[in-house]
Amino acid sequence: MKIEVKIIHTLDDNTLLLGINKRTTLINKIIDFIRGQDEETIIANHNRRHYMISLGTCITFYTAKKKVYTLTQDQKELLVSKRLYELEETLPEAFIRISNTEIINLNFVKEFQINKTGIIIIYFKNGYQTSSSRRYLKKVKERLQ
């Protein structure tokens, strides 16, 4: 494929103009790739297939039976090949650890509650709920400044 790069000063910032004479699967792949570069993504598996998922759609990352899973906005559960402590370091600001086994995306949280026995329960906008260890509450509060 012949690639030519032209600087067009009249274009808006952050705009890429692709000049093609026909849409092909290769061109579509390139477009997907460029789109993927812009938002933060993670590779996850579902039924032995790899998917590239935007982190903005991930509600939570949690450990179950020594494996790490993510739950997406559309309630899909996918296997992630990274450990929780690795994710903790690399995930964007919106993600925060709430227990030894879970990191959540604060953008999807509806509210926190405490029940009568003193368990912290987190309710999400899509109906998902989980519980938090009290030790991590202080850090959650600090992150929300």
Partner: protein, 150 residues
Amino acid sequence: MKRISIQALIGIILGTFIGLILSLVFSYLNGAKNYYPSSPAWTAQFSGTLSATCISVFIWSLIGIVFSVGALVFTRTDWSIAKMTIVHLTISYFGFLPLAILSGWFPLNIGQIIGFTGTFLVVYAIVFSINMLIAKNEVKSINRKLKNQS
């Protein structure tokens, strides 16, 4: 396991220290000229002060272990506050009561034990309430901040 051992060692040291200070204070308060590791009646059971003190130090160490190892319960912040409080109460009550009786701190009669148990329950009810209050305030302030963000 390593953590429990370290915690137990701290308990032995702290238990012995606190026991020694308290027994010194009480010896003076009783107007005695000699040192008594516990009440004079209890100390009299032994052949001399040396062995009475020896046994006392052993018991103080065990009491120290009960409380220092029991304190590890409060690091289990994934447990509910109720579970944490009840487990801690059980460990310290059944660990401390027999040792306190053994060391002659109070006579073995029903009235004393009921009083002791009552005090224990009241203290733990207060501890539970304070922990609940702290957690509730934390949750409230987090929710306020969440609302401000969206």
